[in-house]
Structures are given as structure tokens and as C-alpha cells.
């Protein structure tokens, strides 16, 4: 598999190239291993995700959930293993900006929005489109219609806040703004890390609804501890443990798996 990828030329932008995809999966993670100072964070993790699929990842602290996200988004380079996106891009050899431009968006555990920008400008910066430095001085991003931004803010439930600095938003609103920014990026795959940590029950429910709506036309991976929230997502669940997949299936089968109960859910 790796040898075949190494021979694969970089896809030409623009021209409708023949389909050179090696698999039909959107994301193909094969046997990745990551070691930090002797600590084996990932020990042969494998995972596949189909286009348009939503997947919840659960697992105890230190199971490797965030490290897996880091490997997919280019923040961490795995020691060995393969991460293929869309069947033709080897993500282990690309940097964060390249990967983001391929169409992988990420929401962090701690909401990170641009505090000194307004809510609308946060969306503006996230909008899909050319991102070169010179282009942003003179290009289309200076002429974006307010309606396009407002449509996204409407979905994220933040339209009334468009002119406020993002710093003034509540914790939950910041999480939604970040999800709105992901929508603006219009990625093929969204990685969402603990979106409901620190939210009230009502906010959690609203977030689950928002993610389900997004999952209608995007593939989504959600890392979360909150089992009620995971259940509300109504999707396939993967449980990680000690840097590898422990169990995978529907929420009912995974939460009934004795090994999952043992290491994660508790008796």
C-alpha cells in the first residue's frame, strides 16, 4: 500500500483527472503508530470512514483520540502507518495548511475563535476559497456578500451576534461559531473534538441537532465523552483504548461490549 502511494503523482488541480483513487473510502487510516518521548500514544490504529458518514469516537483519557485527530490534520506526523484522504492524498506527508485546503476542517476541544474579530469576520476568514497572501490583499475575500455570511450564521444560530467581537460570546456560542466556521470552510470531512464540554444540557441538545444537520452533507468525526450526546448523534461509534480500536458498531452494541464496559464505561 505505501509503495503504491509513493509512486502516486500529485493530482493536477483543475483538469478533470481520471479517477486515481485507491479506495472509495473518504478517510483510510491504516496501522498508525505515534510515540512521544517513549510513550506510545497510538499503537497501530486503523479506521475507515465512508463519504458522508458521521462517526463518534469514544474512549478513556489517553486512548489516543486527540493524537489521532492530530495525525489526520498534519499537526503530528505518525512514526509509521498510512493516512489516506479521498483515496489519493497521503496526509502524513502534508502540512496543516495543505490538509485544510484539501477539505478537512477541525474544531478544537477548547473553542478557538479569533477573539478580536467580529463574529461575521470569523466566518469570512473561514469561507472556502483561495487563501494566498497576495490574493487576500486584493481578491474576492474583500468583496464577499453579507448574505453569504449571514446564511451560515443563521445555521449556527448566531445571526443576531454578527457584529459583536467573538471575545464577547459565551462558551457555548463560541463552540457554535467554531462549527459555523467549519461550515464556511465547507470541508469534505469535519473533525470535531469534544464539542459539548462545558455546555449546559440545553446547549448540548442544540449542538447535537446542529451536528446532525451538518452530517446530512458532510462526513463528520466527533470525539466526545458525553454518552447521552453520543447517543443523540445517532451514528456509528468507535471506542479507542490504549492507542488502538477496541470496538466498533452501533451505540447499543458498543456500549454492551464487555471490554468497553471494563475500560471505559465502568460497571
Amino acid at each position: 500500500m505505501s509503495a503504491a502511494v509513493a509512486l502516486q503523482p500529485a493530482p493536477e488541480a483543475g483538469a478533470p483527472a481520471p479517477d486515481k483513487r485507491l479506495t472509495s473510502t473518504l478517510l483510510y487510516v491504516d496501522d498508525i503508530k505515534v510515540t512521544f518521548d517513549g510513550y506510545r500514544a497510538l499503537r497501530g490504529l486503523s479506521l475507515t470512514l465512508m463519504p458522508g458518514e458521521m462517526r463518534a469516537i469514544i474512549g478513556p483519557n489517553g486512548a489516543g483520540k486527540t493524537t489521532m485527530m492530530d495525525c489526520i490534520t498534519g499537526k503530528t506526523r505518525p512514526d509509521t502507518g498510512l493516512v489516506m484522504f479521498d483515496g489519493r492524498h497521503d496526509l502524513t506527508r502534508m502540512d496543516e495548511a495543505d490538509i485544510a485546503q484539501l477539505g478537512i476542517g477541525r474544531k478544537f476541544q477548547k473553542p478557538t475563535v479569533f477573539d478580536s474579530h467580529t463574529v461575521a469576520d470569523n466566518i469570512l476568514l473561514a469561507l472556502k476559497g483561495p487563501r494566498a497572501a497576495v490574493a487576500s490583499l486584493f481578491g474576492w475575500r474583500n468583496r464577499v456578500e453579507a448574505a453569504r455570511i449571514d446564511a451560515i450564521l443563521e445555521t449556527a444560530g448566531l445571526l443576531a451576534h454578527r457584529a459583536r467581537p467573538a471575545a464577547d460570546l459565551s462558551h457555548g456560542q463560541k463552540q457554535w461559531l467554531e462549527i459555523g466556521m467549519l461550515l464556511a470552510q465547507d470541508p469534505k470531512l469535519l473533525l470535531v473534538d469534544e464539542p459539548v464540554a462545558g455546555m449546559t444540557d440545553a446547549e448540548t441538545e442544540a449542538t447535537a441537532a446542529l451536528l446532525r444537520r451538518i452530517a446530512r452533507d458532510h462526513a463528520v468525526i466527533v470525539v466526545e465523552h458525553d454518552m447521552a450526546f453520543v447517543r443523540a448523534l445517532q451514528c456509528r461509534v468507535t471506542c479507542l483504548h490504549e492507542g488502538a480500536v477496541l470496538a466498533e458498531g452501533s451505540i447499543d452494541s458498543v456500549s454492551a461490549d464487555p471490554r468497553v464496559v471494563e475500560v471505559y464505561l465502568g460497571r
Binding site: T73, K75, D95, E96, A97, A100, Q101, G105, R106, F108, T112, F114, D115, S116, H117, D121, L124, L125, A126, R131, A132, A133, V134, S136, L137, F138, G139, R141, N142, R143, E154, G157, L158, L159, A160, H161, R164, D168, L169, S170, G172, Q173, W176, M181, Q185, A202, E203, E205, A206, T207, A208, A209, L210, R212, R213, A232
Partner: protein
């Protein structure tokens, strides 16, 4: 793209208005009133103000990278000095055979140091357009190469500040050497003409002042255009959360290199306008303390406001002129105290604080928006529906 004029805010218009007024009032008061009359502005004061405005351009360039992109450059004086040297080399070549040794080609210091021919890098500097180009190219190129190496390797924060400081220090040591062929210790001085006009003449001095004011206005407009564009928004995003900006797909190093290079070119122009008004450029302009002083001007005026940076440069330098006249030894203490006081009590600087005060007064007058924490109806409904 919104036209540039609509991107200038109120403080920007006030700033441009003051500059325009200075361009008219100062020459009139200098040229038309009799020396000794109450309204007369002596020529030395015109040049002194010109010097302040050159410093204001330097401060503005620093604010572009520090205030908007979080790049705390402690070496911006190097770009200023390089622009100054480029101008100084042109002015040296204009002396021609009028030097003490009367050599038509070689500047005095080269004759004194037994140079037989002009070093290669002095060629072309007898032509003003070439020298003017070098004023932009030399600082710009240094900033581009330096920035490309530093930002691509993701050097940020204190480490970046330290290496910018090291850069200007290394340049200072290099320029102190006589075999650099740039006048060593003494630098370049004893200028005669600029574009055929006597640099000492009253008229030339007034024109240089006006040109400096216009260059400051232009630098402001360029910086304002950059910071109000999507480019500027990305810069601020980088300042506040660089790795997040990367995950949005922006190649942050490119943005930083571009901003740093443009900023260095502005600083070069500032240096080039400074030299003919001051009459000398020497390696002490590369001194790290100069670059740090420029940071203090920006902090005093208000970082991230552009206008504040220019104001800070003028105010601090005016204070310096007053104080070094009265108590020369006290200046460094005063400068240090100023920095501490501003950091503690005026963290947004003069202009930043004023804008904040006015802004909050206006916000209080407006109707309150939806309270934070409230769940928007659209989402709440959908959540309940599940």
C-alpha cells in the same frame, strides 16, 4: 474591494488633516515670517520636525508587524539604517570633486583609507533613481530572506525578538568596520547636494519636511489598506491564534513574510528621508537600543492603531528633545519609566485608550443586544424536536 477612502476611519482623517495642515503651515511660517517674529519657525526646527516625521514612518512600519501580526521586531532600526545608508551613498556620490581631497569619484574616507577604485556595490549610487530603488530593495530583501527563514521555521515570540535584535547588532558590528567600505565608525556625512539642491539651504529643508510628511501619509494609506483588507484580518488572526489560522488553511508564514517585507521597505524610506535632514548616517543607527526605542514609541501611542504609532513617535521624540536639552543624563531613565508606566496604566496606548473610551460611551447609548448565553430560538427549537 471597498475603495480606499471609505476604509479610512475618523482618527485616520484627523491624522491626514493634521499632516496636510503641517505641509502648509510649517513652510509658510518658515518662509514668509521674519526671523525673530513670534510666529517664525526657524529652519533647524523644520528639519527637527522632519526628523520626527521620519521616525513616525518607522513607528508606523513597526506597528504594521507588531500591532497587527504580533511580530515584535527588535531590529527594525536595521531596516531604517539600511535605507539611510542607501540614501547616504547617493549623497556621498553627489559631493564629487568638492571633497577635502578633491577626488572626483572616491569619497573622502576612501581616499584616506587608500582605496584605488570604487567598490562594486557603490556603482550606480550616483543615479538617484537607482539609489531610491535600493532604499526599498535592500531592506526589503533582507527582511524577505530573514523572514522566510524565521517564519518558515516557525520561530515566534521572544525567540524571534531575540534574533531580530541579533540581526541589527551584527549589522552594527559589520558597519563599524572600515573595510566594509561604508565609512566605518564615522559613517557617511558632509553631504552637499540632493538632486542638485543644496541640502543645507532653507528651501531644500522645507521641501524635505513636506516630502517626509507626504511619505508618512502614503505609508499610512498603504498600511491602512493592508490592515483593513482580508489580508489584514488574517494578520490579526495570526497574531491571536496562529495555529488555528493554519488549520483554516492559511499558510501563515507567507502572510508574515509579506507583512514583514513591506514593513521593512517603509522603514527604509523613513531612513532615507531622515539622512538628508540630519546630515549624517553612521553605524550607531543600527544600535539595538534604537530599535527598542521605536517599540516604546508604538507602545506609548497605541499598538494596532497606526495613527497612535505615528503620534507616539512624535511625542516621545519631542519629549526627548526637551529633556536631553535640560537634563541629558535623565533621558534613559525617563524613557524606561515611560515604558513601565504605559505598560501598567495605559496598555492600549494613548490612541487605543481614547478610542476605547469613546467606543464604550457610544455602545452604552445603543440598545443592548441579545445577552450572551441565551440559546438562539432556531437552535433551541430543533434541539427540543429531537
Amino acid at each position: 474591494m471597498t475603495p480606499l477612502l471609505s476604509r479610512i476611519d475618523r482618527q485616520g482623517w484627523i491624522f491626514l488633516g493634521v499632516l496636510a495642515a503641517a505641509c502648509v503651515v510649517v513652510p509658510v511660517l518658515n518662509l514668509t515670517t521674519a526671523p525673530g517674529s513670534g510666529l517664525h519657525v526657524p529652519t533647524y526646527a523644520v528639519s527637527l520636525m522632519g526628523k520626527y516625521l521620519a521616525y513616525a514612518i518607522l513607528a508606523l512600519s513597526l506597528d504594521l508587524v507588531w500591532g497587527y501580526c504580533g511580530i515584535l521586531s527588535l531590529g527594525h532600526g536595521a531596516f531604517f539604517a539600511l535605507g539611510g545608508y542607501a540614501m547616504g551613498m547617493y549623497l556621498m556620490r553627489q559631493i564629487g570633486p568638492r571633497g577635502v581631497y578633491g577626488n572626483p569619484v572616491l569619497p573622502d574616507f576612501m581616499v584616506f583609507l587608500n582605496y584605488k577604485a570604487l567598490p562594486w556595490y557603490w556603482h550606480g549610487f550616483d543615479l538617484f533613481p537607482f539609489a531610491a530603488l535600493m532604499v526599498l530593495v535592500v531592506p526589503g530583501l533582507l527582511a524577505f530572506v530573514f523572514g522566510w527563514l524565521a517564519f518558515r521555521s516557525r520561530v515566534t515570540g521572544v525567540y524571534l525578538s531575540i534574533i531580530t535584535q541579533a540581526m541589527t547588532f551584527a549589522l552594527m558590528l559589520a558597519f563599524f568596520r572600515n573595510d566594509m567600505g561604508l565609512g566605518g565608525n564615522n559613517g557617511l556625512t558632509d553631504f552637499k547636494d540632493v538632486l542638485g539642491f543644496n541640502v543645507q539651504a532653507q528651501g531644500t529643508r522645507v521641501v524635505l519636511f513636506v516630502l517626509t510628511a507626504l511619505a508618512l501619509a502614503l505609508a499610512y494609506l498603504v498600511a491602512r489598506f493592508m490592515t483593513t483588507s482580508a489580508f489584514g484580518k488574517v494578520l490579526v488572526a495570526i497574531r491571536d491564534a496562529e495555529s488555528r489560522t493554519r488549520f483554516l488553511g492559511y499558510r501563515t508564514a507567507h502572510f508574515k513574510v509579506l507583512a514583514f517585507t513591506v514593513s521593512a521597505m517603509m522603514a527604509g524610506v523613513a531612513g532615507a528621508l531622515y539622512v538628508p535632514q540630519v546630515g549624517i548616517i553612521n553605524p550607531s543607527e543600527f544600535a539595538p537600543a534604537n530599535s527598542i526605542e521605536a517599540v516604546i514609541w508604538v507602545a506609548v501611542g497605541g499598538r494596532g492603531t497606526l495613527v497612535g504609532a505615528a503620534l507616539g513617535a512624535v511625542l516621545v521624540n519631542y519629549a526627548k528633545t526637551l529633556l536631553t536639552g535640560a537634563m541629558p543624563d535623565a533621558w534613559l531613565f525617563a524613557l524606561g519609566a515611560l515604558f513601565v508606566v504605559v505598560t501598567l496604566f495605559l496598555p492600549r496606548g494613548i490612541v487605543g485608550t481614547l478610542v476605547e473610551r469613546l467606543g464604550s460611551r457610544r455602545a452604552r447609548a445603543r440598545l443592548p443586544g441579545p445577552a450572551p448565553g441565551e440559546i438562539p430560538p432556531a437552535l433551541a427549537e430543533e434541539g427540543r424536536g429531537s
